[in-house]
Subunit: 636 residues, 2 copies
């Protein structure tokens, strides 16, 4: 392991900048500190308990014991959930030294290791007695996908704690993949990208260029239509319609598209492939400009869990899978590390607060899978022992048949520190704002900082320098939305603000304007025409039926952006009107020839709450985009 590689999820060799090691920032409560603490005390254990209960971990024991062949619990990709939890446990141990996390990781590693075949193949669903053959179904088998997550878990362990048994298992699995799918092997690719990013990062972590080369091969092979369609899903579903370097925009299954893009950036950076890198930058830009929700969520369609077309952004049927939020940040982070461009970090903040933070329940034991921006019907609560298919219905579910989101959330929260700041020579750049202490290795020595803030509830961020080497420079990100920000009282325009000449004992205060503000969608987003939303700092707000008088229906509420908009806690209060439409003529279509008739409108106020907290007070109807009064009946 190269000496200076940080204990962080993404660490390209020789990059101009790096993220924090997970142990370089200790959070003191606050927004992310509390979420991370809940991950520590609840979610990690919760995931382990569910996978033990359902037999997903025991699949490894059955494989080790030669007892395969009966009905196997879990989908064909359930091994990957175990690996994602292991990745989370590795970061957790690296960040906190948790003995529990270390022991849980080690115990799982023993069971995983025992299930590995002599030639390095490792999968509990294929290739053993009574199972389908290895790699017989590359389109939907997910075998290389699972291996990719194994490699990411090994990378976390290696960087956070050092070489161990799982790293050895991963090495043998990666060698197996290189033999099987290398230049001399079969020309296959996996229906679900992930092996690419796993191999690339594992190659970096071990300094092993063969793995990067294998990742490169998988990237180059993709987009040539070699995967057979799965039922009604076509080649674009798994990005086999166009080579990565030829595509202009993301399409198909969002998580697949984004994992592939992350792997492509890794390969492009490590091989100096400017064309491949530019392709992903171009895809990112167009997808952000035309296929991304206000929350940062990606994926407009339930049908294929996929991106829609340009401007196809329905709030109600937004899929916005939690995993796609995780994957979007994987891509943006890599692009930022390579370019230093603030746009990537701006999007990450939006996605952190409005997709990733929305998923877990307050107790960390239930999760959103889909993250729609509009819910018409309040969902029923679920029992703590209840499994949902994918929980699309406005309720956080304890677990899922396809349970990718909880463990993805767990590994992201366990390593959140890495994305909070970047190191470039002797310059430290704060990217995300959270109260805590940093102790960060710079080129000339270690800097120690204390950050005090209640962000995003308030906008003041005070950074005190406890110790700093000569030549230390501090940069702070001024988010795109923060018009009117100041640094020590002087205007700071969105982008980067430099706090010059800070030595030990000095401090600086960034003030970000977090008053609520109205936001309108592009006119071409048909699904929210005539609507506006309210944001507050990095938070997207929403209206919930919970906050309406019982006689009002959310569907009848209209707002007027000309009325005052006041901040309330971390939410806002808006003036609203509501008028119940006149009863329809029975059995007639909901289309008419004149203005819609309504009862007398009533006026009132409505509290808007941060989107990430919606449905925490029970099932509710909810909307982010609120229809503007008078904008709706075009015939007058």
């Amino acid at each position: 392991m190269p000496d200076k590689t940080p204990a962080a999820p993404v660490a390209p060799e020789g990059a101009a900048r790096r993220g924090l090691a997970v142990d370089e920032l200790r959070l003191d409560g606050g927004f992310w500190g509390r979420l991370q603490e809940t991950n520590t005390t609840a979610t990690l254990r919760h995931c382990l308990e569910w996978m033990e209960r359902l037999g997903w971990t025991a699949n490894f024991d059955r494989t080790a014991d030669g007892a395969t062949g009966g009905a196997r619990p879990g989908w064909q990709f359930s091994d990957s959930e175990v690996y994602k939890l292991m990745e989370a446990l590795a970061w957790e141990h690296g960040r906190t030294g948790s003995a529990w996390a270390d022991a849980a990781f080690t115990a799982l590693a023993e069971r995983v290791a025992a299930a590995q075949d002599a030639d390095g193949y490792l999968n509990t669903c294929y290739g053993h007695a009574g199972q389908a053959d290895r790699y017989a179904d590359l389109a939907s088998g997910h075998e290389l996908y699972c291996t990719g997550h194994l490699l990411q878990a090994a990378v976390a362990r290696l960087r956070a704690s050092g070489d161990d048994k799982l790293v050895e298992v991963a090495r043998r699995a990666a060698d197996h993949v290189c033999r099987e799918f290398g230049p001399e092997g079969r020309e296959g690719i996996c229906g679900h990208p992930e092996i690419e990013v796993g191999l690339a990062e594992f190659g970096r972590a071990l300094g092993e260029p063969r793995y990067t080369e294998q990742a490169r091969l998988f990237i180059e092979r993709r987009g040539r239509g070699t995967l057979p369609p799965i039922a009604l899903l076509d080649a674009a579903y798994f990005q086999d319609d166009l080579p990565v370097r030829e595509a202009d925009v993301w399409r198909g299954h969002a998580v697949r598209a984004l994992y592939l893009a992350a792997g492509a950036v890794d390969v492009a950076v490590d091989t100096g492939d400017a064309g491949l890198f530019a392709a992903v930058e171009r895809q990112w830009a167009r997808s952000v400009e035309r296929r991304t929700y206000l929350t940062g969520g990606m994926g407009s369609r339930h049908q294929d869990e996929g991106f829609g077309e340009d401007w196809e952004l329905p709030p109600d049927r937004a899929y916005c899978e939690t995993c796609a939020g995780v994957a979007s940040n994987m891509v943006s982070w890599r692009l930022f590390l390579a370019t230093g461009d603030v746009r990537y970090v701006d999007l990450m903040e939006r996605t952190f607060y409005n997709v990733i933070a929305a998923s877990p329940s307050e107790d960390g034991r239930a999760f959103f899978y889909a993250n729609p921006l509009h819910q018409r019907t309040a969902a029923n609560a679920m029992r703590p022992d209840e499994v949902n298919a994918r929980a699309e219905g406005g309720v956080r579910a304890p677990w899922f048949d396809v349970s990718c989101c909880p463990t993805n959330l767990a590994r992201t929260l366990a390593s959140w520190q890495s994305y909070a700041a970047a190191v470039e020579g002797d310059t430290l750049t704060l990217l995300q704002y959270a109260a805590g202490e940093l102790e960060v290795r710079l080129d000339s020595g270690t800097v120690r900082l204390r950050v005090d803030t209640e962000y995003p509830r308030t906008g003041a961020v005070r950074v005190a320098v406890l110790a700093a080497p000569d030549g230390f420079a501090l940069r702070l990100r001024v988010p795109h939305w923060a018009d009117g920000a100041t640094l020590d009282g002087r205007p700071a325009v969105p982008g980067w603000a430099l706090a010059a000449g800070l030595g030990s004992g000095s401090s600086t205060v960034l003030d970000l304007p977090v008053d609520p503000r109205w936001t309108r969608p592009d006119d071409r987003i048909d699904a929210v025409r005539g609507c506006a939303a309210v944001e507050r700092g990095p938070l997207v707000l929403c209206a919930e039926s919970t906050d309406l008088p019982p006689e009002w229906r959310l569907e009848d509420v209209r707002v007027d952006p000309a009325l005052p908009l006041a901040g309330t806690g971390d939410g806002a209060t808006v003036g609203i009107t509501a008028a119940a439409p006149a009863p329809a003529e029975p059995g007639r279509l909901p289309y008419g020839s004149g203005p819609q008739e309504t009862g007398a409108p009533v006026a009132g106020e409505l509290r808007l709450v941060p989107y990430h907290r919606w449905a925490r007070r029970g099932g509710s109807s909810m909307r982010v985009f609120l229809p503007v009064a008078g904008a709706v009946s075009p015939l007058r």
Copy 2:
């Protein structure tokens, strides 16, 4: 067969009114005459050729020969396509006496009969050597669904031509179902409703109450959660979530919901079950009021081919399957026959012109499966030998993997006459307007009428009485949209208009106003807020990129309903403006804090064309609901 049963798809015994027999109206060209002629000369043969080519018909031969067990062409429900084509051929022969249709029917009947098992079971996918067991997978096996379509084909043959081999095959198949699933048999239901309507109509056609009773059992068993979920689809998908008589609205897979409702009406009418009947009426009303598109299309979601929630009517992702249009008319027709309520026929007209007529290409050899109301990206043409999965992409496809729509269209067009008028004692009611001659049996004798009209291009309908018995009365439907209609110069309000005292040699003229008119959606339909559509008579119009100057993009076009709206052919011309939005800041989300900046708007005119003809001039972007200028940027 009761003496007075008409050769018509739906014939409840002892009903107050009946539809026309297929041979009681001869169309003379015109809108429906031409569509029917294309069905006769092209679509029927086209369907037969494709099923021969793909081996779907040969599946019956293999079953007869005991040669099952290898790879079987077609989905598990492909038998039903053969039966639907046979139903179409039976109506075709009954209507026209076509020797070709008769021969084609008879040849298929021989092959089908040969595949029937000794005990009456008939299915080419299950129960034979190398196949899964009979009824082992009721949720997705579609065996009873296929049998239901067999019974409908037999009903058509019986009513149109008389008893024959297929009727005997169907009788044995129905008896098998009654033994297997009767009161003493297993408590199962089929994942895809259809057996109910097939049994009920077959029972009517044969005067056999056992079949009606079996249909009743299937209806009553449904909604009790006995079907296992299919992957991520829940009980509502196949209407097994709630008993039919307890449901308030349609939900889940639209075709399944509607076939079930049609069967429930038949059972309710034949058993005098007022509660069951009222339940379907209630479901129809709420679904029409809140879950139906302007086109009459039903089914808002691709994911489950299903209804969405109330007000969930996205134009772009509208599924509006052609089959759901067929099925919606099956339900509405049954409700009309039982009640005489004009609302049901009004919806049928809308669905005929804007869903069913939209499906076929001009040459009758390609079909829309989904019928969205908004297409953002022009689709590529398909080759005549190309099979599509479901062709959701704005192009009519020659055939489909799941090819339910072409044969459903074929049987509907072959029997269109039945829905054009109703007979009640000595009263004839014209329901749909088309040029042609009627010769209809009334209680007191036969009436002969000549209808001259270019409807829907123009609104004048002239009915001449060629011969009529004493006591003859003529009623004409005045459509819901026809404000300002006149009958012989006197105002005729929407509903029924009575042309009194018409004897031989007299005539009457109904004048329906078909000037184009603006239509606005209910304020609660979020997906088309701030938009308006143009209708013209029964036709929904649309804007196609084909009619725009090449430098204009449809996504930038805005309309102003205050400007003049002129009729042009069977379309309209509207004033439009278009302003290209200012280029977005690269890599920034499509949401802003002020009005959207655009270039200088240009003004012009745009021809709107009937929706049913869209994409006939090549792939196009298209929209029915047009954004109203000034209604879109809520922040000013």
